[in-house]
């Protein structure tokens, strides 16, 4: 049975969520190429440097918030339904979808208002060139904050639907182990609930009333701290779905089985525990925060490497097993027996490979003292285009080649384009990101519209600045091409007629070491959530208490522009 025939209702939901995600990806990629050309000085005809930041806000919000959240909602809807073998609660799921969409439209309107001259709407300038980090006291139109809040609340509702499914399944199967994919979805969502509290408090309790003029001032350091309380775990909210794909679908695509189900669960529990108490590592160079708290965040961050290193092992081992099943031999010879001609497989593998490089530059970011060299330089976008921009985004695109046929019942069209697409993305990202990393070492800042300053010139440590700019621009062009190829394949597939049998299905082979080998305590969500909260209180309790002790709005800043 094809997924769309077994679960027509959830399929429709997944299709709607993917549609929004893909639209956001297309628009975000368009902004991306304009930025890459503008800030390198290669072509500056699209926008003025003052409007650059409005595009950059759109790029960050559309890709890092909208594309990811909608794609994950669709992927999780499929994963929960498929592994628990029941349709998702419909009313809850659709309310979530419409809330998130309303939020997206509100935020998008506020951002686009900035390009059309910021007209006054409801007594406030309709603009939101505050970037996706929206640090106070820089102020956007209230619609931007309300939109952000709705996206978050919507994602909470979407999570409730997965929990509801799990509870229903539980009552019918009281003694069974939670199926792995449902386990991963629920662990990820628990982490998401815990970490979004920070940004929800920031936006709902502080920024919305402040932008409406109901309260006069907010404490910039406090709001920034609340943002980063959420801002690092959100990274794992992007990665864990990619891990879900790598753990559960990729071994199957490789022709094998997952190596170890219990270890996969351990990895997800570790993420739940360690993801949140690390946010201060984004504030290593913030004044007003004692060194000790930064140090605690640093040690936590380093231990957060553990689940990723374990993942590297399990995923590679599972794929090697698959390759050997297909007749692969030798120390490295087995690599040749993998299905490189399958776009879904090739895309996930290339994404994983780039993630390894991203992990490496991430360790540099996490090093409390080396961080000084690269904080807020172009190194940072270089890093996260490898992680969220490739590990997540390329995995999402690749798995769509496998998933979209199942939720539409239509065969994948334009297979050749689909097969070339991950390679185009890979080459584009290799160029753009390595040049961004090197530019960062040369001190070139991120989020800057101009390639030059009046007072001095940058000099490359490795290679010339001119060559880096060229690589960023060419890489960006290839990435844009990659996004366009993906959307072309999706459109062709989506709009085609049904017919013929699909070559893909969502049946999964049993893992080599199954859930029966994992201790039951792993399924004890209450315990893990409680430990996670304790760790957060240790990492965040004292600093937040001291920021709030002298008054929530002290030292306070009124909005700018007023």
């Amino acid at each position: 049975m094809v997924f769309v025939d077994s679960y027509p209702k959830t399929s429709k939901l997944v299709r709607s969520e993917f549609l929004v995600a893909f639209a956001a990806l297309g628009l975000g990629a368009l902004f991306g190429i304009v930025q890459a050309l503008h800030r390198t000085g290669l072509f500056r005809g699209f926008v003025s440097s003052a409007d650059y930041y409005t595009l950059l806000t759109g790029h960050g919000v559309l890709l890092a918030l909208v594309f990811t959240t909608f794609f994950i909602a669709g992927l999780f809807a499929w994963a929960t339904t498929n592994s628990l073998e029941r349709e998702l609660p419909q009313r809850l799921s659709w309310s979530a979808f419409w809330l998130m969409l309303t939020g997206t439209v509100l935020a998008a309107v506020a951002i686009i208002g900035g390009i059309v001259g910021a007209p006054t709407v409801f007594g406030h300038d309709l603009q939101a060139d505050v970037l996706f980090t929206f640090y106070a006291p820089m102020k956007a139109h209230p619609a931007f904050y309300v939109g952000a809040a709705l996206i978050i609340v919507g994602s909470w509702l979407a999570g409730l639907a997965y929990f509801k499914s799990l509870w229903d399944w539980r009552s019918e199967n009281p003694d069974e182990r939670i199926p792995l994919r449902a386990f991963m979805v629920v662990t990820t969502m628990l982490m998401w609930y815990i970490s979004t509290i920070g940004v929800a408090v920031e936006v709902v309790a502080l920024l919305i009333p402040w932008s409406l003029g109901l309260i006069q001032s907010v404490d910039p350091l406090l709001t920034r701290t609340l943002f980063w309380y959420f801002g690092h775990p959100v990274v794992y909210f992007w990665l864990m779905p990619a891990y879900l794909v790598w753990y559960t679908v990729l071994p199957k695509l490789a022709g094998g089985r997952l190596f170890s189900d219990p270890l996969a669960r351990v990895v997800f529990v570790l993420f739940l525990l360690l993801s949140t108490p690390v946010g201060f590592h984004h504030q290593y160079v913030d004044p007003g925060i004692p060194e000790g708290f930064k140090f605690i965040a640093m040690t936590n961050t380093m231990f957060l490497l553990l689940p990723s290193l374990l993942t590297a092992f399990t995923v590679v081992a599972s794929i090697e097993h698959g390759a050997r099943q297909r007749g692969g031999e030798g120390y490295f010879g087995w690599l040749r027996s993998l299905p490189w001609g399958d776009p879904a497989f090739a895309g996930c593998m290339l994404a994983g490979l780039m993630f390894a490089a991203g992990g490496f530059s991430g360790m540099i970011n996490a090093g409390m003292n080396i961080n000084y060299l690269i904080h807020n330089t172009l190194w940072v976008p270089g890093h996260f285009h490898l992680t969220v921009g490739t590990a997540f985004a390329l995995t999402a695109m690749a798995i769509s080649y496998w998933l979209v046929p199942q939720i539409t019942g239509k065969r994948l069209r334009q297979r050749t384009v689909a097969l070339a697409q991950p390679y185009v993305w890979f080459v584009g990202m290799a160029l753009m990101s390595n040049a961004m990393h090197r530019a960062g070492l040369a001190g070139i800042p991120r989020r800057t519209a101009e390639p030059n300053y009046d007072e001095f010139a940058f000099e490359g440590l490795v290679g010339t600045v001119g060559e880096m700019r060229l690589q960023i621009a060419i890489g960006g062009l290839l990435l844009f091409l990659g996004a366009a190829m993906f959307l072309f394949v999706m459109a062709e597939t989506w709009l085609a007629h049904r017919g013929g049998t699909l070559s893909v299905n969502s049946e999964f082979p049993d893992p080599l070491s199954g859930p029966e080998h994992s201790p039951r305590i792993l399924d004890n969500y209450k315990l893990w959530t409680a430990i996670a909260l304790v760790l957060i209180v240790i990492a965040y309790g004292p600093p937040l208490a001291s920021m709030v002790a002298d008054g929530i709005a002290v030292p306070g800043s009124p909005p700018i522009p007023v």
Partner: protein
């Protein structure tokens, strides 16, 4: 729970790596004495800084000589310049001397980064960022605002002139 032997080895190696990282960083902080930006600068009212009524040296930013071997530089970051630092008002300091930068913002968030050095701090309204360094090499260093601070953020640069200690004339700087 079944854990494969290879998995055990890998797990051990991973933990070793992590502990190693933490150890080198701890050494860098404690042993080699690399100082972090922290809360030592204290708090200040951003609006008071903007109005020049903070009652602190930020009302008249610039280089202040503590003694022969220690200078303090007060810098106000605001949309879209460093005072001093930007345009034809570079920060002038002596080489081979302890220099403490005290930087604060009069409006929104800014960054204060001296290109290709370890001097890199966020500038947050309400907080004073404090960084102490010693420049060995005389020369002109680029100064960048690396946190988006508004539509002309890309114009917010500056420079730091490090003068050989013997040629440094504090009088020339202070007025």
């Amino acid at each position: 729970m079944q854990v494969h032997n290879f998995e055990k080895i890998w797990l051990g190696a991973a933990i070793l790596l992590i502990v190693g990282f933490i150890a080198t960083i701890s050494y860098g902080t404690v042993g080699a004495g690399i100082q972090m930006v922290d809360d030592s600068g204290g708090q200040i009212s951003a609006q008071a800084v903007q109005n020049g009524e903070s009652g602190t040296q930020f009302d008249d930013p610039g280089v202040v000589r503590q003694n022969d071997s220690h200078y303090v530089v007060y810098v106000v970051a605001q949309q879209f310049q460093f005072v001093p630092g930007s345009g034809d008002n570079p920060i002038r300091i002596p080489a081979d001397t302890r220099v403490t930068f005290r930087v604060t913002s009069a409006d929104v968030l800014h960054g204060f980064s001296i290109v290709e050095t370890n001097v890199n701090t966020m500038v947050i309204p309400g907080q004073v960022a404090e960084v102490t360094v010693r420049f060995d090499e005389p020369g002109t260093y680029g100064l960048v605002c690396h946190e988006y601070c508004g539509a002309a953020h890309h114009t917010m640069g500056g420079s730091v002139e490090v003068v050989p200690r013997s040629q440094y004339d504090y009088q020339e700087v202070s007025d």
